[in-house]
Symmetry: C2
Subunit: 394 residues, 2 copies
């Protein structure tokens, strides 16, 4: 008999994917240039040329067996060494290859990190608004996801609610900064307060509490924004990284778990990740992509377009009466809908071919998410549609 | 607190990996050419040039966003269509893209197939000798693995033992033909008998029983060997394929689940695989590798070296007194050790720098596995070492 739990999940397909599919269909009708699709977080800028050059050199190598051969299950040793060296230089933490586990993107990283530090039935806390896939990620690991309501004034952490929800069952706190969907970056003050609280709770409860820091947007931080390194503030941190956004490679599934070298049992946790892989069919990220990425660790795509787009949208939409906490990074923005029912509001926006994602599934009803990783000229042309939309709600 | 179950698995690391690591270390001491390493199944022949050409063309495409962008979670649509068309042409089964789910290698395929057709506590039956990773694969899916003892005369299915072990709790039968580690290909007679038995049990128990057919060695079948298509004989078949061996790409993690179009709920099972991915961090195999493989579906590396190697080894080792069931495919051979304790025997073989894998973990004590995916000249030079080894047991 087929597995009922997965059959039932089919009824709850991602609203983001559904809207993106609508956008593709609509583009066929009225032309791609006329659909203002703010649904999907697919980077709009090309991968750096240096990555492409390395990829071609590897593909045409005289030893294809070495390039395309099995990767060790923790990742290719030289790649782990280079990732550790790059992190050490950048964040002044003493990473070595023993702290690095290469993964198939951030999804793979989170799948391993969550399984490494929780047991069946343990609680994992996250903060609204949050990436909806956290629910299947945490549930799939056998843990229980608890969501702290948003502080809608700042989209920093709502500490009052968080502290009330905390209990000895919480083994990990899952944070995402810069944040999808709010675009907010947790400030040094926020991270310091979170770290101090968890240090105190570790002592009180007598067990480790881990921060799982999901950081695919680490490289997309806007000018003048305070963007602290989470691991620098809290030893028991597992950083989950993906090159999807920084190198515009979301389809190539490449990322890592970096366990803070000061974390209790850091190398053991990495070794355990290799065992976790066996049960979930992970094995290792693609060899040639590991090798190519390792050559461009300190580079990014030209990410400046995202800040340009954000400023255009923020200025005009604020002027139109939208309430928005100004993003500090990512390519997301999280305005309040002009009506109480954000789903109805986003549906109405389709009239002007504006594709916006209502935020119910992000744990923050009444808001919507915009992924502005689209060409700037299109952002500019979409402003007229926002004007018409706002006028309907005057 | 860290997850005890994975910590404990560290004590039971793969004996294959341990021996391969020993081989690498030994090569540093005495030179790579002097170590006869039969431990690892890493293909020794290069990927086809056509694959490389397509990979380079994709990497240097004018639209890198389309090449490196997110794949839909079931796989890139055009790739699924091409895989279906290729299978349809080859096996005369009416596959369409709705029956195909692209995966990160056979490990990813098995992780999804097992989760799709079993629920917590269901039984999955496999046949000794079997690939040791089946244990974590099945356990990780929440099911229980039952192993039917080997028929050591033929390494076909031991039907007597199988039928006795069968019960209504068995939801899937996991087979691997051509087989790792025996190199044996299940004959038409074996597959027909298996199919007939399962058809009868489906009726008797009133529920579906699936064959999960793990076929990474499908393209490596030796001359004159009867190698039936499993799905052609049994509608409820989920075929798990990997391009690792046929295209010499084990590190690039690319394969698929092909659900027999005659399988009950075929398209539903494929859709469910997309949901299963969410819980295990799979998402999709690398986009550029999907696109490149789709262009060479009907090609393989030059696999003829494996048959050459097999014949050299089979002839000489048989002459030396080894008892071997002659392989019909793969690049494995599974001789009986010359002493009762295969582990001690393989340890002794290290004296002659012969790296052989004892078969305890394959569920068949007293035997050992040889992966002869190494250059033929090295196979020939290893014969002297086998002569010395055999002499010690005269």
């Amino acid at each position: 008999m087929i597995a009922e739990e997965f059959k039932q999940m089919l009824g709850q397909k991602s609203v983001i994917r559904q809207l993106a599919e609508y956008g593709s269909e609509r583009a066929k009708e009225i032309g791609y240039e006329n659909v203002f699709d703010y649904s999907l977080g697919n980077p709009s800028v090309p991968v750096p040329q240096a990555f492409t050059d390395h990829l071609v050199a590897l593909a045409t190598s005289k030893d294809p067996g070495a390039v395309h051969g099995y990767s060790p299950s923790l990742g290719i040793t030289s790649v782990r060494e280079k990732v550790a060296a790059s992190l050490k230089k950048r964040f002044a933490l003493d990473y070595t290859k023993e702290d690095i586990f290469m993964t198939s993107g951030a999804a793979g990283a989170l799948a391993h990190a969550l399984r490494a530090v929780t047991q069946e039935g343990d609680e994992v806390i996250t903060f609204a608004p949050f990436f909806p896939e956290y629910t299947p990620y945490v549930t799939g690991a056998g843990a229980v996801l608890k969501v702290v309501p948003a502080d809608t004034e700042t989209f920093q952490i709502n500490f009052e609610a968080f502290e009330q929800m905390f209990s000895p069952k919480v083994m990990a706190v899952l944070i995402n900064t810069p944040n999808n969907p709010s675009g907010i970056v947790y400030s040094s003050q926020t991270i310091q307060r979170l770290a101090a609280f968890l240090e105190q709770k570790q002592k009180e409860y007598g067990h480790e509490i881990y921060i799982i820091s999901d950081e695919p947007y680490r490289e997309i931080v806007f000018e003048g924004v305070d963007a602290p390194c989470v691991a620098s503030h809290y030893p028991n941190t597992l950083t989950c990284y993906s090159f999807s956004k920084s190198l515009s490679l979301p389809g190539e599934r490449i990322g890592y778990v970096a366990v803070n070298p000061q974390c209790k049992d850091a190398a053991l946790i990495v070794d355990m990740c290799g065992q976790i892989s066996r049960g979930i069919g992970h094995n290792c990220p693609p060899s040639i992509i590991q090798l190519a990425v390792a050559e461009v660790l300190d580079q990014t795509s030209d990410l400046s377009v995202y800040e340009t787009n954000m400023n255009i949208l923020y200025d005009e939409m604020t002027r139109l009466g939208f309430s928005i906490v100004k993003p500090g990074g990512t390519f997301y923005m999280f305005p309040k809908a002009l009506a109480e029912d954000a789903t109805a509001f986003c549906k109405h926006a389709l009239k002007y071919d504006l594709i916006l994602v209502p935020a119910e599934s992000f744990g923050c009803p009444g808001y919507f998410r915009m992924a502005y990783c689209i060409p700037t000229e299109k952002v500019e042309r979409s402003l007229e549609a926002f004007r018409k939309l706002a006028a309907d709600y005057k």
